[in-house]
Amino acid sequence: MSILTPQAAHHDHSPSGQSPSNSSSGGLATFATLFLKDLALLRPIAATVTAFVLLAALVVAALPLLGVSALRWFGYTQRDDLFDRLDPVASIALVGGALVPFLCAPMILQGDRSRGAGSFFATLPISCTTRWMSKLAAALVVGLVPFVLAGLLRAPSFAVKSDDISNAMSLAALAWLAGAAGAVFVRGVPSAAILGAAFAGAIAALAWSIAALIQMPIYRGVFAWTGFDAEFNDYLEGNPVGTFLKNAASSRADAMPMWVLIATVVAALLLVIWKGRKIVVNGSEPLRKFRGVLVGVCAIALAGSGVAGVLHANRARLFARDFASYQDEFRQGFERLDKLPTDELFRSWIAQRAANTYSERNLLHEWILRENGGYLRPSSSDDLFDSSRELLPDSTDHFAWAGLEGEVAAVNKRRNGEPAAFERIVRGVASGEIPATLAERMSAADQLGPYHLAAVAAEQLASSPNLTERLRAIRSLAKLVRVDVDQGSLEAVFDPSRRKMARDGIPGFALHPSLSTNFVGQARARAVISLVALEYALAQAARDGDRTRLADLFGGPAPVVTAEVLAKARAELARPIPELRESVEQARARTVDPADVEALDALLRAKAVTVEQLEAVRRGAECPIAELFDLTQTDPVYLRGFEGK
């Protein structure tokens, strides 16, 4: 006699708990049959996503047939090749891959029931393992379809976009779990998807709230003890979700609380799925006795959030410790400059600023890596920079810059107290009346305004003894105008964040469309525009002598720059810049700074896949100035002095 008791009904009598049986079917043929059946269940969803993505790809491929206006309407230029245009379609596929599992999970788990075969499927003598394995295999296959599509669409730049794909796959995994958890409670596929999403969100919110409640008094205690209430508020004002996501991207130790909370959500979802596994296979009624499950979920959320709260508290302790050293550095920097006489203080500050801003290392980073090679980097991790990331136990030297901030505070205090002295010294250094290096003159001119800086940069360009000096001058001139890439056309605008150069009154111009990704060519063209703007401003100042106008333009007396200097600067601009790729390799050979070595190595590793882009950079560095502009829309004044160069 076989006896089924309530316990047996819960365990032995369930597919997952069934004992081995000769009559249970679990062979390969059965698995294949179930697998095909589960694939058929998901076919409507997979087919819809695939059809949508392929249709979008087809539209993108056919866009050129519709003309330039259609291309531009969709945000493409004529120069965008097919794979460039397919990039957003790949994003659609990734979004589908990340979100579709919300629907797929309930469909695959409830599909037998929702398609009317619940009792039939449940009464087949198939082993539990075979049932689940077929479902998992079908889920894997269908779940990968959008990612394979995205990978195919992004094949040329797959390595560059791998972050997106891995992020989408992570979200998809969570979506599978959430959808499955929703399927345990309700029978409808859409409602299960919505419930699953809400369920995951609720667990995350619960865990986050509890962790915040745990960490809050600890933070308050720590910061009250160290006396940094203001910084504490600043620290907490940031968007916690955004901060956590940034930390996730950083994969640093201080991202641990977030991973703990993610693990908490996953564990809670797994508990729900485990408790409901009989329901989704048997096609029986939705989860009863959910109070037990709810208690389990809450217990997991409490445990996970407790761990996260402790980790947060530890971060608060480190933050407080590091902040104390920051304050110490700050105070030392402030006192170091504050005790100097005014003239010496300002001169010292200008010299220090020049050394920092125009140093060789700075040039290497800002010019080669950021402006010329920044787009080669695998991810824009700088954009995800989160100051809290610096608050790590191993970041003992991260507050060296605090001393500089202290010095800046001392300078600002003195400048506000003695503005006339500051003006006198800065103008003296910028104009050369006070003996100074060119770097110091540029640093001082930078304080006076863009025309002063352009004048000194032109002088530096005209007298540049080597490539480094030349690059510094070109960079200084180029940074005075900003180039926006909009709808495939290039438009130069003057940097709104600085004291503006006058956009009015200078002749019209348009950059060559090929410069949209050619930063060296852009820089040369922007330097030309700066020179022309300087010439026009100086000519206008000489012509009308209007003091108010001069004050608007120059913030005081106009800079002094001769026609010979301007002509020579133009000649220097027309000269080709040696191939930067070689410069990177040379720089790598002589660099010892670990940060530089790492960045340069990454750049060199990427060289193989970016030969074409580097070639474009080389063309931009060597081509005649005339090729940098769209000649049909550019006033000839921009090409004066560059004829034949």
Binding site: M1, Q18, S21, T33, N282
Partner: protein, 354 residues
């Protein structure tokens, strides 16, 4: 008692026999050459059968505050055929699901004889639900192939013969099947592996008269030859006489009465008491002795007079004597009940009682 009245389906059964013969004659040559119709009615030659017995004790299943099964007890001997009769929602389907392990039990035990693990149980049990349970994107043939690959005891020859008998087209889409055709397919899927225990949950809803008789005949022959155990839940008590050994009445999750089918009509009696106000007086004051076994009394107004209908399973003389004491002027007439009426009155009685 008129036997014709007691079993109104007997004439239909005769017609079904004719239909079966004509169905066998209409089989394709291959099927005819294998004597498929004969095989269909005599499904014994392929393998030996070992009937399964079931003993349910104290089953309790709750859905929230509702007890779908409330200390349900039922014993079915191997080879026995039991009919379950009860109103909608009485707990019949829940009982089947509990037997198959599809729903959890809150209390109670289910014992199978011989001892079976779940795999064996499912392999040797046929379940025919009241609605077709198969993927609607499949064709009939594909659905059967699916079942064949997943059911190790699937009998293709037997299935083909059932298909032929029930006139099911393999190429037809499940989605396109009518209600009756779906019931036929559900029946084939449930019996395709020649189960030793058959659970039928309203299998004949929506089927035509010929199919109805074929289904009952197939089940009867399976019982006769294989000794298959059958538990049939039905709202058509007329089916019971042709198939079951006894009837169990189910009300609000409990099995209340178990009665042999042959005794059902004999033991369920009804009298009608006529007379001015006799019905009203009797209904208000009549106290029947326990020997009377009164199940149900109903008072109705017929013009200026009232009448009382009494259904009972005890001694008729005791009932008539009790009535005569209160309303000597009343005229009493006995009514012969059909199985359908007997079941309906017993169900009403249970409902009133509970």
């Amino acid at each position: 008692m008129n036997k014709q009245e007691r079993n109104p389906t007997s004439s239909v059964a005769d017609e079904a026999a004719v239909a079966l013969r004509s169905a066998a004659e209409s089989l394709p040559p291959a099927a005819q050459s294998s004597d498929s119709a004969h095989h269909a009615m005599n499904p014994t030659k392929a393998r030996s059968a070992q009937p399964i017995g079931v003993d349910c004790r104290g089953l309790v299943t709750r859905f929230g505050y509702v007890r779908a099964l409330d200390r349900f007890n039922l014993t079915v001997e191997p080879g026995e055929c039991v009919g379950l009769v009860g109103r909608n929602g009485a707990g019949k389907s829940t009982l089947f699901r509990a037997m198959l392990g599809l729903g959890s039990l809150d209390a109670g035990t289910i014992e199978f004889t011989p001892r079976l693990d779940r795999g064996d149980l499912l392999a040797r049990t046929g379940y025919v639900p009241d609605t077709l349970s198969i993927y609607d994107w499949m064709t009939v043939g594909r659905a059967l192939n699916f079942a064949a690959r997943c059911q190790p005891r699937f009998d293709s020859a037997w299935t083909n013969e059932l298909l032929a008998l029930l006139a099911l087209d393999r190429s037809k889409s499940v989605r396109a099947l009518s209600r009756g055709m779906q019931a036929r397919l559900a029946f084939v899927l449930g019996l395709a592996h020649r189960p030793d225990l058959v659970l039928l949950d309203e299998p004949l809803l929506g089927v035509d008269a010929i199919t109805h008789d074929i289904v009952l005949e197939v089940l009867a022959r399976m019982r006769a030859r294989d000794g298959t155990t059958v538990i049939l839940a039905t709202h058509q008590p007329g089916d019971l006489a042709r198939l079951v050994d006894r009837v169990v009445f189910v009300e609000r999750g409990r099995a209340h009465t178990s009665i042999a089918i042959d005794d059902l009509v004999d033991r369920t009696k009804r009298i009608v008491v006529h007379g001015a106000n006799a019905g009203t007086r009797l209904n208000a004051s009549c106290k029947f002795s326990p020997e009377a076994g009164v199940l149900l009394t109903r008072s109705t107004e017929v013009g200026a007079t009232s009448q009382l209908t009494v259904t009972f399973d005890g001694d008729a003389h005791a009932v008539e004597e009790a009535i005569g004491k209160i309303a000597p002027e009343a005229r009493i007439s006995r009514v012969d009940l059909t199985i359908h009426e007997a079941c309906a009155d017993r169900l009403r009685a249970l409902e009133v009682k509970s």
